[in-house]
C-alpha cells in the first residue's frame, strides 16, 4: 500500500515534470530573427518592460500591475495567434499546450503571491511564453507581403 502510494506520488510528479520540460524545449526554439520586437511595438505590449524591470531590479513591478499586464498581453497575443495571418484560424497543438502551460504558471504566480514566495521565476517564465507567441505571430506576419512592404513594416508605419 505504502509502495503504491509512493509510486503514485513519484510518477505523478514526474509526469508533470516531463510535460513542463516539453514546454521549455518548445520555448527554446530559435527563430531566424527577433520577430517579436515589431509585434511588441505595433501592439504596445508591455511584457518586455516587465522582464527588463525584473532583470534590472531583481523584482517585478507591483503585483496587481504585473498580473494585469501579463494577462492583457496574453489575451492580445492569443487573439493574434488565432487571427493574424493564420489561414486556418485555429491554434496549433504546441500553441494549445503553451496556452495551458501559461495558465498553469499564471496560477502558480498567484499562489506564490499568496504564500509570500518569490514571484520572479514564474514572472520570467510567463514573459518567455509571451515572447515565443509574439515571435510566432511575427514570423507568420513576416511571410505575408503587402506590396513592397512586409506586414511588420506595414504595422510599424501605421
Amino acid at each position: 500500500m505504502i509502495m503504491a502510494a509512493l509510486i503514485l506520488i513519484l510518477s505523478t510528479g514526474l509526469f508533470f515534470f516531463y510535460l513542463q520540460a516539453v514546454c521549455q524545449k518548445i520555448l527554446r526554439r530559435q527563430f531566424t530573427q527577433e520577430f517579436f520586437q515589431s509585434i511588441v511595438n505595433a501592439n504596445r505590449l508591455e511584457f518586455p518592460s516587465v522582464r527588463k524591470a525584473i532583470e534590472d531590479f531583481g523584482s517585478p513591478v507591483e503585483y496587481p500591475r504585473l498580473t494585469l499586464t501579463l494577462k492583457c498581453d496574453f489575451l492580445a497575443l492569443t487573439y493574434l495567434l488565432k487571427n493574424a495571418a493564420n489561414v486556418n484560424q485555429r491554434y496549433s497543438y504546441e500553441e494549445r499546450l503553451l496556452i495551458v502551460y501559461f495558465k498553469l504558471v499564471f496560477a502558480s504566480l498567484i499562489t506564490r503571491h499568496w504564500l509570500k514566495l518569490r514571484e520572479t521565476p514564474a514572472a520570467l517564465k510567463l514573459t518567455a511564453i509571451l515572447e515565443y507567441f509574439a515571435n510566432v505571430v511575427g514570423e507568420r506576419v513576416n511571410t505575408v507581403r503587402f506590396g513592397n512592404l512586409t506586414a511588420s513594416d506595414y504595422l510599424l508605419n501605421l
Binding site: A4, L19, V22
Partner: protein
C-alpha cells in the same frame, strides 16, 4: 457507450500517428539516425495497432488466447522500450566512451535485477506461474524504464548535451511511462474501483498518444545537426539546419 467511442477514437488516433511517424522517418531518410526509434515505432504499430486488434477480433475479449497474446506482446513492448532507452543512452554518451562503458554495465545490472525481482515474486504465487511471471516482469521493467529515463534526462542536463531532439524524445518516453505508472499505482491503491477502471482505460492510450505527438514534434520541428566537410587538418564540425 460514449466512453467506448472515445477509447476507440484514441486507439485509432494512436495507430494513425504510429503509421505516420514510420512514414515520416522513412520518407525523410531519418531512419539511419533513428534506427532504434524506427524499430520501436514499427514494433508498437505491428503489435499494438495490428496484431492485438486482429487477435481480439478473432478470439474475443474474454478468451484465454487474447489474454496470453496481450501479456506476451506487453513483455516484447517493455523489452523494446528498454532497448530504446539503451539506444538513447548510447546517443547521449556518443562523445563519452568511458561513461558509456559505465552506463552499459548499469543497464545490464538493471535488467538482471528486474529478472531476479520478478522471479522472486513468483515464490509467492505458485498457481498461475506462467502468466504471473510475465505480468510481474513487464510491470517491473516499465517502472525501471521510468527510472532509467529520468536518469537519462538528468544526465543530459548535467553533461549539457546540446541535442534538443534527444531531449524531446526522452520527455516523450517520460510522459508515457510516468502516466502509466501513476495509473497503475492508483489502480492498486483503490482496489480497482469502477471509476478508476474508467480513468485507467483512458489514461494509457492518452499517454501513448501524448508520447507519439511529442516524438512527431521532435522529428518535424527540431533543427538537425548536419556534418560539414572541414578544411584539411581540421576537425569536421556540426552545424544546425532548420527542419522544414
Amino acid at each position: 457507450m460514449n466512453d467506448q467511442i472515445l477509447i476507440h477514437g484514441l486507439q485509432y488516433g494512436i495507430s494513425i500517428l504510429e503509421a505516420s511517424l514510420c512514414v515520416l522517418l522513412a520518407s525523410r531518410g531519418r531512419w539511419r539516425r533513428h534506427k532504434g526509434l524506427c524499430l520501436y515505432v514499427i514494433l508498437l504499430f505491428g503489435l499494438d495497432g495490428v496484431a492485438r486488434a486482429a487477435v481480439l477480433h478473432y478470439f474475443g475479449f474474454n478468451s484465454n488466447q487474447y489474454r496470453n497474446f496481450y501479456w506476451w506482446t506487453d513483455v516484447v513492448l517493455a523489452l523494446g522500450a528498454f532497448l530504446l532507452i539503451c539506444a538513447f543512452f548510447r546517443r547521449a554518451c556518443a562523445r563519452e566512451e568511458r561513461l558509456w562503458r559505465l552506463v552499459r554495465l548499469m543497464l545490464v545490472f538493471v535488467i538482471a535485477l528486474v529478472v531476479a525481482i520478478s522471479a522472486f515474486a513468483l515464490t509467492r504465487h505458485y498457481t498461475q506461474l506462467y502468466i504471473r511471471f510475465i505480468v510481474e516482469f513487464s510491470q517491473n521493467l516499465y517502472f525501471s524504464c521510468l527510472v532509467l529515463n529520468t536518469m537519462l534526462f538528468v544526465m543530459i542536463q548535467q553533461l549539457a548535451i546540446d541535442d534538443d531532439e534527444l531531449g524531446l524524445l526522452v520527455c516523450g518516453m517520460g510522459v508515457q511511462f510516468a502516466g502509466e505508472a501513476a495509473g497503475l499505482a492508483l489502480y492498486h491503491l483503490t482496489l480497482a474501483e469502477p471509476f478508476v477502471q474508467t480513468i485507467f482505460s483512458f489514461l494509457n492510450p492518452a499517454c501513448t498518444l501524448g508520447m507519439l505527438l511529442i516524438w512527431t514534434y521532435a522529428i518535424v520541428k527540431t533543427p538537425q545537426a548536419v556534418p560539414v566537410r572541414a578544411p584539411v587538418g581540421k576537425q569536421p564540425a556540426l552545424v544546425e539546419a532548420v527542419a522544414d
